[in-house]
C-alpha cells in the first residue's frame, strides 16, 4: 500500500513520487504538484476535508478525493 497526501498528518511532510493520475487537474500539476517536490500538510478542515497544503512553496487547498491520487514518501523530520 503506497502512501498518498491523504495519509499525511497535520504538520507532516512528504515528497511527491507520482502525480500522473488522469483525475488530477492539470492546474494542480502546474502549481507544482510534481514528482520530486515537497508537500507539507498545514491544516485540515473539519472531517479532514479539504486539506490545506504547501506544495513547492505554493499554498493551496485541495479536496481529499484529489489528495488520495497523489503518491508520496513521508519525510521524517
Amino acid at each position: 500500500m503506497s502512501l498518498t497526501i491523504a495519509d499525511l498528518k497535520k504538520g507532516e511532510t512528504g515528497v511527491i513520487t507520482d502525480s500522473s493520475s488522469n483525475d488530477i487537474p492539470l492546474k494542480l500539476l502546474e502549481m507544482g504538484c510534481l514528482p520530486g517536490n515537497v508537500v507539507k500538510l498545514l491544516q485540515l478542515a473539519p472531517f479532514s476535508d479539504p486539506m490545506y497544503l504547501n506544495i513547492n512553496d505554493s499554498f493551496l487547498a485541495i479536496r481529499k478525493e484529489t489528495a488520495t491520487l497523489i503518491l508520496i514518501d513521508k519525510i521524517n523530520e
Binding site: 492539470l26 492546474k27 502546474e30 510534481l34 478542515a45 490545506y52 505554493s58 493551496l60 485541495i62 479536496r63
Partner: protein
Amino acid sequence: MSKQINVALIGNPNTGKTSVFNALTGLNQKVGNYPGITVDKKQGICKLSRGVKAHILDLPGTYSLNASSLDENVVIELLLNKNDKDYPDVAVIVSDVENLKRNLLLFTQIKDLKIPTILVINMSDVMDRKGISLDVAVLEEKLHTKIALVSTRKNTGIKELKALIEQHKTLPKTQCLNASSIDPAYFDRLQKAFPNQDIYKLWLVITQDANFGKISRQELDVSKFKTKSTTELKRLQQKEAIKRYQFINNVLKEGQHIDRSKARDLRSKFDRILIHKVWGYVIFFVILLTIFQAIYDWATFPMDLIDTTFAGLAEWVKNAFPNGGKVTDLVAEGIVSGIGGIVIFIPQIAFLFLFISILEESGYMSRVVFLMDRIMRRFGLSGKSLVPLISGTACAIPAVMATRNIENWKERLITILVTPFTTCSARLPVYLIIIALVIPEGYIFGLSYQALTLMLLYLIGFGMAVFSAYVLDRVMKVNRKTFFVVEMPNYKLPLLKNVLITVFEKTKTFVLEAGKIILAISIILWVLASYGPGEKFNNAEAIIAKEYVDLSNTALEDKIAAYKLEHSYIGIVGKTIEPVIKPLGYDWKIGIGLVASFAAREVFVGTLATIYSVGSATENEGIDTIKTKMSNETYDDGRKVFTFASGISLLLFYAFAMQCMSTLAVVKRETKSWKWPLIQLVGMSTIAYIFALIAFQVLK
C-alpha cells in the same frame, strides 16, 4: 493611433495584477465584454512620454496557458491569434515576489510564444520582511527579459515599468524552453505537418483543443493532424511542467536567495484563528452579521433619500409639463419611477461589493471557501458557492455573475439555479407590507412576531436554496470531472483604491445590465396599465361620474383611476389569471400585482397602491394609507381579501417564485442557453404555487 503600444497584462491570480493595472491607468479604464462571452474585458490607456500612449489590456488571471475556464481561455485565444487587434506588442507578466517560482511557469510559456515580455516582480516591498533577496541582473540575463521591481502599495517601480514598455522594441525574443525536448519524435511529426508554424504554438493549439473542446480557428486548423490520446497528451503536459520547473529552479538557484530565518510568518498566525475548527466559524458568522447589518440598516438612509428624490422628480415632471398628456405620464410614471426602481438598489449593492471586495483582497475569502467546502458539498454545491449565496441576499444578478470562479460545471450550474431562492432585497418591500398586514403585533421572548416572521422568511429562502441544490445534485447527470483547487493567498491589507474601483465598476455593471430590463418592463407595464380596449376604459370618467354623483373631486379621481385600471389591458390579464390564483387566496387585483412583479418584485407594492386607488391623490400619506386600504379590501360577499391565510400564502409565493426577468436574462447569458432559465422559471414558480396553495388551503 499609430503610436499606440498594445500591452497585455498577464499573471497568476493573487499577484496584484489589478493593482498594477490601476497604477498604470488610474480611472482611465473601462470594462466591457469579450464578444459572445461574459468574461469582463478590462482595458485602459496609459500615457508615456512624448505623446506615446499604451493601450493596456488586463487579461483574466491564469496559472498557465492551459485553460480550464472561460476566463483563462481568453488569454490563450488572444496570444495565439496574431491578427487580433489586441494582440500585444509587449506582454507584461505580473508576478508576486513570494511566489516567483510558480509565477515563472506562465512567464516561460509566454516567452516561448516569442512575444516580447517584461517581468514585473510585484510586492517587492515585502522582500526584506520575508528574507528574500534577488539578483535582478542575473534573472534578466537567464530569463532573457527586463525586470521591473514594483510595489503598488508603496507606489514604487511604476515609472521604471512605463519606461520599459516604451522601449519594448529592444526586448529579446529568446525562448526559455526547447519545446521539442518534451517528446522529440512527436514534435518532429507535428512540425513536418505544419512546416510554417511555430512548434510551441502548434502544441498549445493541440492541448487547448484537448483541454477545452474544439475551437474553430481560421488561421490554424490542426484538426486533421492525428494526435495522441488525452491520457498521453496529459502525460506530455506534465512532462512540460516538470521541464519548465527544472529550468526555473536553475534560474532561481542563482538569481534568488531566501533566508527563511528572517521571514516573519503572519500567515500561520492568522490561519490558526481564522480557520480554527470553532473560532473560524464564529468569526465568519460575525462577519456575515455585519454584512447583513450594513445592507439592511446602514443602507436605509441613502435608500430613503433616493426614494424621496425620485418621487419628487416624478411629481416635478407632472407639474412642469401639465399639458404633456400621455407623454408627461410616460416620463413621470413609466421612465422616472422605472429608473428610480433601479437606482434605489445602488446603496445595498455597493455595500455588498464593498464587503466582498475587502474580504477577497485581504485573502480571507479563500479561508471561508476552505471552511465551508465540505458542508456545501453535501448539497451538491462547492465552498465557492458561498459568495454567490451571500450576494444573493442583495440581488441575484451580481450573485449569478459571481459563480464564475467555480471550476466544476455541475456545482456552478446548481449554484446558479438555486441562488434566486435567497431573499433578495427586492422581496423586502413586499414582505414588509404583508407582514405588517397579517402578522399581529406582539412579543415572544422580547422578539416581535413580525421581526421573527421576517427572519423566518430569510431562513426559508436559504433552506429552499440548499434543499433544491440537494435534489438537483441527485437528479442531474452532468458528466464533467470534479476538481477543486483553491489557492490560499497571503493575508494583506486591502488597497483602498482597488476596493473602490471594484465597487464602482460592479455597481455600474449592475445598474446598466439590470437597469435596461427593469426600465423596459416598467415602460411596458405602464403602457398596459394606461391603455385598455373598449367603452369601459375610454369612458371611465363619464361612467364613474354618473355612478357616484356626490363624491368629492379627489375621491372621484381615485375611483376613476381604479376603474380604468380594472378595464386596462393589465386589468384584463389580472382577471384572466384569477381562476388560477383563486385557490391561493388571491383576487384579480393581487393577480395584477403578481404579473407586474415580473419586472421587479418590489413593483408589487406600487402596483397595489395604484389598484387600491391610493396612487395619485394621496401619495404623500405613504405606506400606512396603502396598508389601511389593503386591510379594508373585501370580496363582494364581505370577506376580507388579506387574511392570515392569504397573507402567508402570498409571502410563500414571493419567497419561492422566479419573478425577475433580469435574473433570467443573466442566467441565460451565463449558461449560454434558454434551457436553464426556463427550468428555473417553471420549477421555482411551480414550487411557489404548490407551497402557497397548501398554505392557504390549510390555514383558511
